[in-house]
Amino acid sequence: MAVDRKAMRETIARRAEKEIQSGDYVNLGIGMPTMVANYLSEDKQVMLQSENGLLGIGPYPSEEELDPDLINAGKETVTAAKGAAYFSSAESFAMIRGEHIDVAILGGMEVAENGDLANWMIPGKMIKGMGGAMDLVHGAKKVIIIMDHVSRNGTPKIVKECSLPLTGKGVVDRIITDRAVLDVTDKGLVLKEILDGSSFEEIQEATEPELIKE
């Protein structure tokens, strides 16, 4: 059975959108997290931050609006939303590090049951750099990781201990996958929601650490 990856990503993005409250300041990571913006309810007043120096990311521009001086942290051309502000990258990370961002939604390679996150390098593969991820995971009030529940070869990405180099230690609050929503707590990983109709046991099967029933 071919997995419909596009549908999986949409499931994750739609579920992640629910983490955002009206009035929140939100940073969406590069890649799948950027998609969450497409599903943002119009009832919510949300300001998206871009770590290069913009508070208030708007939609992608039309051909006429396209401006090389206006990009997001993924280097995509964007527009500025109503009430936006431009500033330097130092101010941008002051904002992040100073815990002014309510929610950061980032991608993940591995998350450990204690909240450790690995999402920036695979030894042996070319290092591209961590960008702003190491700052974001310590700065945002709530750090949500969205990723596939298991890797392409079926091994768990939610693990007892990360095997990949860490982005941050004990930084993840919540994990949203195509199959489930899990919270990192002092007692361990709590399975909050099942998104694909599986049983608790089936989710446990695909997850390395022992899960706690909500």
Partner: protein, 230 residues
């Protein structure tokens, strides 16, 4: 009055082989493209470059890479560049990856006379290896040191003859901190105006940080053209 140049080849005079150069911009946005090209033409070698990224294969700092003018680079993300990868693998290029916020703050510290500061970014990761880690209020932080350079090269939208700079939209990015962190700062501006014509409230980089200026037309390449579906 600042030194105003009309040729990018002249504005880089005095930049020696082995210099540490801080370069503004994020991706290809807000980079001082004409001054970079002058460095390529001159062939200045063994450079240490500090910049958030390293351009792409045929533009921005990628042009310096192509001519093997860079020995070492400090950056937060360098994934856009095949030649970069080749040189790192062959040991021709040394790279020190710095978390983006830490890079921005180390540069700000450099310009602001702060020799070092503590940050949570990187605690418990490779980035903190060999660095002091210390607790404040029960939380761990890593000590990071300021970055300064022999020369800073920035790009602004408007500059006046006293060196005051105004950046446009997200082309601001690392430019203000880099303008302050170099011993000599070169500003490439799209529009040069007389001092006294800019509103003092709107200035992002006060002229005190700027030494040399040039007005130059920008190609302003787009790295990732994304438009909404019609």
């Amino acid at each position: 009055m600042k030194q105003i140049f009309s040729s990018p080849d002249e504005i880089i005079e005095g930049i020696e082989d082995g210099a540490t150069i801080l370069v503004g911009g994020f991706g290809l946005c807000g980079i001082p493209e004409n001054v970079i090209q002058a460095l390529v033409r001159k062939g200045t070698k063994h450079l240490t470059i500090v910049s958030n990224n390293c351009g792409v294969d045929d533009w921005g700092l990628g042009l310096l890479l192509e001519k093997k003018q860079i020995d070492k680079i400090y950056a937060s993300y360098v994934g856009e560049n095949k030649e970069f990868e080749r040189q790192v693998i062959n040991g021709e290029l040394e790279v020190e990856l710095v978390p983006q916020g830490t890079l921005a703050e180390r540069l700000r510290a450099g310009g602001a006379g702060i020799p070092a500061f503590y940050t949570p970014a990187g605690v418990g990761t490779k980035i903190a290896e060999g660095k002091e880690v210390r607790k404040f209020d029960g939380r761990e932080y890593v000590l990071e040191q300021a970055i300064t350079g022999d020369v800073s090269i920035v790009r602004a939208h408007t500059g006046d003859t006293y060196g005051n700079l105004i950046y446009r939209k997200t082309a601001q990015n690392f430019n203000p901190m880099i303008a302050a962190a170099g011993r000599t700062t070169i500003a490439e501006v799209e529009h040069l105006v007389e001092a006294g014509t800019l509103d003092p409230h709107h200035i992002h980089t006060p002229g005190i940080y700027v030494n040399r200026m040039i007005e130059a037309e920008q190609e302003n390449r787009v790295e990732r053209r994304t438009v909404k579906e019609a």
